[in-house]
């Protein structure tokens, strides 16, 4: 674990959706991370001005700490990371941070992952960790996105589903749906949760991540369904473009 700032170099950038990009970081001295943890990014301008933000680590433990960044309309750091930054550029990072909102196969399941928009990032680290460790813990990921084009990692999630190892993905598209869409087409509400979530008697662990209002509505809904409050872990991202 490191408490100080480390120099990181962007080695690759990968567009996920029109507003979202993954940055693959090379961080000498990176101590390793767990799925669900985040890191702090610090940027310094030439005049010494500094800005700092937190980003969830998208990659599985053992990999480099990739981050996936959504460009926020009024953002100061996210437009730089999501648009300007190029391979070879350097930023400072601190971490890994977070020991509560983490999951590993040893924590068992069944596992319910509920994501609002870019809240899917730390949950994707969990999904990737699960796949990389050959775990068969029954897992459902519910991803709420505005449109299909905005659904982050949708291809990789489809691949994970195709492995037949107990991983399922349910999408809901809240603003616009492609022609022929037969899936959910609304914000996650109690009824949708009831249909998608593991039943309470399964004793599932839930991780909920996204904007604050999304997280609170979903976690309340899960507890109302009978989930043990101690088994519903939350991470709030603050407001995101909606």
């Amino acid at each position: 674990m490191t408490t100080g700032w480390l120099a990181a170099e962007a080695v690759e950038v990968r567009r996920e959706t029109p507003r979202v990009r993954t940055i693959v970081l090379d961080v000498p001295g990176w101590p390793g991370h767990r799925a669900g943890q985040h890191l702090d990014v610090r940027l310094t301008a030439e005049d010494g001005y500094q800005a700092q933000r937190s980003y969830s680590i998208a990659s599985a433990p053992g990999e480099r700490p990739d981050i996936t960044v959504e460009e926020l309309d009024d953002g100061e750091v996210s437009p730089y990371l999501a648009e300007e930054l190029r391979p070879g550029d350097r930023i400072e990072v601190r971490g890994p941070i977070g020991g509560w909102f983490v999951w590993g196969p040893e924590d068992g399941g069944p596992l319910l992952l509920v994501a609002g928009g870019s809240g899917v990032v730390p949950l994707m680290a969990m999904a990737r960790h699960r796949a990389a460790s050959g775990s068969a813990v029954p897992t459902r990921l519910l991803l709420s996105s505005r449109t299909w084009e905005d659904a982050i990692y949708r291809d990789e999630l489809a691949d994970l589903t195709g492995r037949g190892d107990g991983f399922e993905v349910v999408h809901t598209l809240t603003r616009e749906q492609p022609d022929g869409w037969s899936g959910y087409a609304r914000r996650v509400d109690d009824e949708l949760l009831r249909e998608v979530a593991w039943p309470a008697h399964a004793g599932a662990r839930a991780y909920v991540c996204g904007p604050t209002s999304f997280v609170e509505s979903v976690s309340r809904g899960l507890v109302d369904l009978g989930y043990e409050p101690g088994k519903v872990k939350t991470e709030r991202f603050g407001p995101t473009g909606g």
Binding site: A7, T44, A45, G48, E84, L85, R90
Partner: protein
């Protein structure tokens, strides 16, 4: 230090017209909402404003408060988080009006608020036309997110002194640091001398 991220500039920082914006501040178009807790929602029929620590307690209900003479003022405001907003329009009751008729020898006041927030201001900085209890912004009732039904307005000090959801003033002989002043923010908070933190 020397570590620079190529191409990063940060938000465009408008330092504003000379002499209007204190050092280290930049202008904002919006009106950022900063809050140390959930927005209280005190009903107007339960709201009171109290001045304690004088010879007698002075107390106004909302209706009594709104019946006091009030003013329209246009002032610049400066937040310690570095944004400034020029020419903001407020409607409120001058603290001079509230202290008028309160017999006291206090040199300091501690403003107290719904939600538990407190902040300390010398009496001298609350009087002489320098401070108000504001109930209106831009001609509209003050929004709860911005401190409504009423907030303290002390524009010549950093804006954390303009306590939201203010419910009264406690008059004191000695300066008693409030919520942020006990935890690193400057006891006085003059933006023109950049008094942001202890020791500044």
């Amino acid at each position: 230090m020397g570590f620079v991220s190529r191409g990063f500039h940060g938000r465009r920082r408008d330092e504003g017209p000379e002499g209007r914006v204190p050092p280290g501040q930049y202008l904002t178009d919006g009106f950022p909402v900063l809050s140390a807790g959930p927005t209280p929602h005190t009903r107007l029929d339960e709201w009171t404003f109290t001045v304690e620590g004088g010879a007698e307690q002075a107390r106004w209900t909302w209706d009594e408060f709104r019946a006091l003479p009030s003013e329209d003022v246009t002032v610049d405001i400066h937040c310690v988080t570095r944004w400034s907003k020029l020419d903001t329009d407020w409607q409120g009751v001058s603290v001079d009006t509230l202290l008028d008729g309160v017999e006291h020898e206090a040199a300091y006041a501690l403003a107290f608020c719904d939600g538990g927030y407190t902040t300390n201001v010398p009496i001298e900085d609350l009087t002489g036309g320098k401070a108000w209890v504001a109930y209106g912004y831009d001609g509209e009732p003050l929004d709860p997110e911005h401190g409504g039904p009423a907030r303290l307005l002390v524009p010549h000090l950093y804006f954390w002194k303009s306590a939201k959801w203010v419910r009264g003033l406690q008059l004191l002989d000695d300066d008693e640091p409030g919520f942020w002043e006990t935890n690193g923010y400057h006891l006085y908070g003059d933006p023109w001398r950049e008094q942001r933190y202890w020791g500044d």
